[in-house]
Every structure is written in structure tokens, then in C-alpha cells.
């Protein structure tokens, strides 16, 4: 039987970390650092208006230029790491946990619950995720908190589906039978033994989900349904600059680059984790 501790140890034993994991991990670490200590890196206050430098192009003073209020774009992009990394984590951790728990239950118990869940999955997975989230947010009112709720209501299904099918597979393996024979309670079997093995695809999905969460969060920010101006969030910034694309492209372009880089970081890290864990299986 494989416990969580043993799993972690065996995963890393004697194996080179994949390059994608190193690259992705590096980007993520930098992103986290900027998110936690933005003031260390940002040259200006992100909300400071400078009426002498409105719509200024990139220069030594303002490497990313300024926007229509004279705010330094670079500082705003850096401060936005805080909100957007928060989005990546908060919008995914809830679905991850809830989905894993529900998925473990459904995978182990099967039967009627599985059939019911199957229908729910069909309905959720096919419907446009963005539209569902927008609908829920517009009902609850705009803002990040409500966005997390909206994503939570719908997002857990994806994790549950992955974990349920993995638990189903693990359940049939010999070591699960051994546990039953030894009289372990189902809870113990599921949590200490099946789940550590079954959770792998959920973890990999979580990394890509975080990249998707940033895309979703910034989309909502762009539409005015997520983070609210004057908050520094990449989507909001892009919306701020969309009317100035011909004259002051830097307002929208640089925040987009940040989105892409961070998204790539999560994707690479996800690929790396997948590679690392796949070899073991």
C-alpha cells in the first residue's frame, strides 16, 4: 500500500526534474514573488496620477509608458500580479478540493450516484463555461468574490470527473482488495491509499486550470464583471487601454504579455509535473 509520504519520496527519487518543470517553476516562482512583494519591484505607486505624463510612450522614466491617467503601466502590471495570482489560486483551489472529495466518493461508491453524476457532467462540460460564469456573476453582482463563487459552483465538476474515474481504476487493483481484507474502513482505504495515486491527473489538471483561471479572470475583468477599476488587474488594464490602441498601444499590450508569460509558466509546470508523475506510473 502506498501512502502519501511514500508517494512523494518515490516520485522524486533518483529522477532528473524535467526541463519544462524547471522553466515553468522558475516563471511561477518569480510571479509569486512579484505578487507577494510588488512594492519591491514597482517603481511607482500604481494608483498615482501624473498629469504631466499622460499617455506617455515607453521611456527610461516609464519603461512601459503611462496610461490616460498618467499612471505608470509597469507598476500597474507588477501590482496586478497580486490580484491575478490570487485569482489563479482562489479560483482553482475550491473546485480542486471539492471536486476531489466528491469525485473520490462517486468513484468509490459508484452505482446510482455515478449515473446521476454522469448526467451532471454531460450538462456542465458541454455548456460554455464562460457564459455560465458570466450569468452567475451578473446575478450575484460584479466583483472578484462573486467570481470565485461562480467558478466554484461550476468548476468542481471537472476535477470530480477526473478523480472519480481514477478512483474507479484504483479500486479494482489488488492493493485496494488487500485493504478491504484487512478490515480497513472505506474512508481509510480511499484517503490513505487510493487517493494519493488517483489524485495525479487532478494535480496536473490543476496547473492548467490555474492558467485558464487567469484567462477567465482577466476576461471578466475586461468585461467589467471581475476585478473592478481602478484595481490593477491585467484584464482591467487591457480594457482601460482598448480605446487607445492606435495612439498608446503600450497600455494594453504589456499587461497581455504578462498574462501570456504567467499562463505559459503554469502550462509548462503542468507539463513538467505530468512528465514527472507519468514515468512513475
Amino acid at each position: 500500500m502506498i501512502s502519501l509520504a511514500t508517494t512523494t519520496r518515490t516520485v522524486l527519487r533518483g529522477r532528473k526534474l524535467p526541463r519544462s518543470l524547471i522553466g515553468g517553476g522558475l516563471i511561477l516562482v518569480i510571479s509569486l514573488v512579484m505578487a507577494i512583494w510588488p512594492t519591491l519591484f514597482a517603481p511607482y505607486d500604481p494608483n498615482l496620477f501624473d498629469y504631466n505624463a499622460l499617455l506617455a510612450p515607453p521611456s527610461w522614466d516609464h519603461p512601459f509608458g503611462t496610461d490616460s491617467f498618467g499612471r505608470d503601466v509597469l507598476s500597474r502590471v507588477i501590482h496586478a500580479y497580486t490580484i491575478d495570482m490570487q485569482i489563479a489560486i482562489f479560483a482553482t483551489v475550491g473546485p480542486f478540493v471539492i471536486g476531489t472529495l466528491v469525485g473520490a466518493f462517486i468513484g468509490y461508491v459508484g452505482g446510482f450516484w455515478e449515473a446521476l453524476f454522469g448526467r451532471l457532467v454531460d450538462a456542465t462540460v458541454t455548456f460554455p463555461f464562460l457564459v455560465l460564469v458570466i450569468a452567475i456573476v451578473s446575478v450575484l453582482g460584479p466583483g472578484l468574490g462573486n467570481m470565485y463563487v461562480a467558478v466554484g459552483i461550476v468548476g468542481w465538476v471537472f476535477y470530480a470527473r477526473l478523480v472519480a474515474s481514477e478512483i474507479k481504476v484504483q479500486k479494482r487493483l489488488d492493493y485496494a482488495d488487500a485493504g478491504r481484507v484487512m478490515g480497513y474502513t472505506p474512508m481509510r482505504i480511499v484517503f490513505r491509499h487510493l487517493l494519493p495515486n488517483a489524485i495525479t491527473p487532478a494535480i496536473v489538471y490543476w496547473m492548467t486550470d490555474m492558467a485558464l483561471a487567469i484567462l477567465l479572470g482577466s476576461s471578466l475583468g475586461y468585461l467589467g464583471l471581475g476585478a473592478q477599476p481602478p484595481a490593477a488587474e491585467w484584464g482591467v488594464q487591457i480594457a482601460d487601454g482598448k480605446n487607445f490602441m492606435n495612439t498608446a498601444w503600450w497600455i494594453s499590450v504589456f499587461p497581455g504579455v504578462a498574462i501570456v508569460l504567467t499562463g505559459l509558466g503554469f502550462s509548462l509546470a503542468g507539463d513538467g509535473v505530468a512528465e514527472l508523475l507519468r514515468v512513475r506510473r
Partner: protein
């Protein structure tokens, strides 16, 4: 013909799904806060007036009764009238939905045109430079938010280079396609990335299959082998993916229509959510859900046509 009975079977299976969709839509829309009467009359409406309108709209009857009226009206194609625009919901949807359909269809075509050849190149030059470049470029494209790609394409190709119109819709078919090209390209970028990734893996699986060796041993031309043997088998799993991506595609269409000011169902959806226009919201949700089911049916049929093992 096994294919024909397969289609009939799946169409019949759609019926309970459609009923389920109707019930869910009905319930959800009724659960939205604020009632249509207040929305119509405004915040300062008097209670008596609100009650009167609610009675007229049949909103004070028991829910089950309301549902039957609802289902009856749907069956006759009466989706009600838009609260904000004062026209029939059906006419609104008939106006806007084809636009979105054309947008998504065009972007699917562009996405396939991008994904299929590049997936082949990436698969055949696996682990070499060309493969990494292709995969890397698509990965970057996948990480770009749709609205970001949209406004960049809009600025560069429409506003600056003036190669395309700055949004809107056309009148004749070629004109419409011309207007929709940039929005479709925007959508196609991330869609093609997902397709390419899947197709590449599929091709790699297939190209080492023994039947490819057998086909080579028969002395077939490489074009025949590529298309009839490799692509046809590799597409099977990608077709399923295609269907699953419809939801994401529509979500992207919503944003793209906003960026490019295209008068499609996506924008209508956003507007009706903002404006609490329940009849429109309801009608759109039902139409959307039915469309998604139909798309699934279509991908299932294509899959069964490609892979005869499925239709049994």
C-alpha cells in the same frame, strides 16, 4: 444502413435531453432576483402596478402551471417578447444566431486549416526543431486571452493596415465573410492550438501502426497513405475533441463579438444578462443548449462515419 439507424437513435436520445434543458432553463430563469414586472416598470413602480403586470404575465400562478404554459408556448415557437427591445424573442434570435453560427463555422474552418497541416509537420518532425517551434508557437497562442488577440488583430490589421473592416457585419455573403474574418481568426488561434495538440498526438500514435506498414508494403503513394490511412484514423479522436470544444468556442465568440462589435447571439446574451431581459435570456439559453446537443449529434455522426466500429 447502420449509419442511418444510428442517426435516428441519437436523434431520439436527444428528446429527453431537450426536455431536461427546458426544465432547467425554466427553473434557473425564475430563480433570478428581481422580477420582470419591476424590470419593466422601473424601481419606482407601485406595488399595485407590479402585481397587475405579474398577474398578466401569469407569474402569480403555481410553478407547475407556469411550466406547462411555458412548454406549450415553446412548442409553438412563441418565445415571448424582449423586454428591452420590444420585439419577439424568436425574431431576435433568428436575426442574431446565424451570425454567431457563421462566425464559429468560419473559425472552425480556419482552425482546421491551420491545425491539420501543422500537426502533420510536427508529428513527422517529432522532437526536432520544427516540432518544437510549432508546438511552442501554438502554446503561446493558447495562453493569450481571446480579447487580447482580438484587440491586437483589430488594431494592426483593421485600424492600422486597413486590410479589414473595423468590426461590424456586412450585407452580402462575401461581405459578411470579409467582416467576420478577423473575429474568426481570433477565435481560431486558440481553437487550432487545442486541435493541433490532440491531432499531433493522434498522428504519432497512428503513424507507427502496422497497417501503415502494410499500406507502404502495398506500394501505395505516400499521399494516399497520409490521407486515407493516417489522417482518417488520427481524426477520430480529434473529432470528439471538436465537439467538446464547442462550449469554449461559444464563450470565445461572446468575447469576440464584443471586441469586434459583431451583431451576434453572443453579444445579445451579454446584453440580456446585463439588462435582465429574461425572455431573451430564456430563449437564447434554450436555443444554445439545443444547438450544443445538435453539434454533439453531428460530431457523433461524423465519428461513426469515420470509424465504422462505432455504429454497431
Amino acid at each position: 444502413m447502420p449509419l442511418f439507424s444510428f442517426v435516428i437513435r441519437r436523434l431520439l436520445q436527444m428528446i429527453p435531453t431537450v426536455i431536461f434543458i427546458l426544465i432547467v432553463t425554466f427553473v434557473l430563469v425564475r430563480m433570478l432576483p428581481g422580477d420582470p414586472a419591476s424590470a419593466m416598470l422601473g424601481d419606482r413602480a407601485r406595488d399595485a402596478d407590479v402585481n397587475r403586470i405579474n398577474h398578466e404575465l401569469g407569474l402569480d400562478r403555481p410553478l407547475i402551471v407556469q411550466f406547462f404554459y411555458f412548454a406549450e408556448r415553446i412548442a409553438t415557437g412563441d418565445l415571448g417578447n424582449s423586454i428591452g427591445l420590444k420585439v419577439s424573442v424568436l425574431s431576435l434570435i433568428m436575426d442574431r444566431l446565424p451570425v454567431t453560427l457563421m462566425l464559429t463555422a468560419l473559425s472552425a474552418v480556419i482552425a482546421l486549416a491551420l491545425a491539420v497541416p501543422l500537426a502533420f509537420v510536427a508529428a513527422f518532425k517529432r522532437e526536432k526543431l520544427a516540432d518544437s517551434v510549432i508546438r511552442g508557437t501554438f502554446q503561446v497562442g493558447l495562453s493569450m486571452p481571446v480579447f487580447y488577440v482580438g484587440i491586437i488583430l483589430l488594431t494592426v490589421f483593421a485600424a492600422q493596415l486597413k486590410l479589414f473592416p473595423v468590426g461590424g457585419y456586412g450585407t452580402t455573403l462575401p461581405d459578411k465573410l470579409y467582416h467576420l474574418f478577423l473575429p474568426a481568426l481570433t477565435l481560431a488561434l486558440s481553437f487550432s492550438a487545442v486541435l493541433m495538440r490532440n491531432l499531433r498526438a493522434s498522428i504519432i500514435n497512428v503513424m507507427n501502426a502496422e497497417y501503415v506498414d502494410f499500406a507502404t508494403a502495398k506500394g501505395l503513394k505516400s499521399r494516399v497513405i497520409l490521407l486515407r490511412h493516417i489522417l482518417r484514423n488520427a481524426l477520430i479522436s480529434t473529432v470528439t475533441l471538436f465537439g467538446l470544444q464547442i462550449g469554449t468556442l461559444f464563450g470565445g465568440a461572446v468575447i469576440t463579438e464584443t471586441v469586434f462589435a459583431v451583431p451576434g447571439a453572443g453579444r445579445l446574451l451579454i446584453d440580456s444578462i446585463y439588462g435582465r431581459d429574461y425572455p431573451v435570456l430564456q430563449g437564447l439559453t434554450i436555443s444554445l443548449a439545443i444547438l450544443v446537443s445538435l453539434t454533439f449529434l453531428l460530431t457523433d455522426i461524423i465519428q461513426a462515419w469515420l470509424d465504422p466500429r462505432i455504429a454497431r
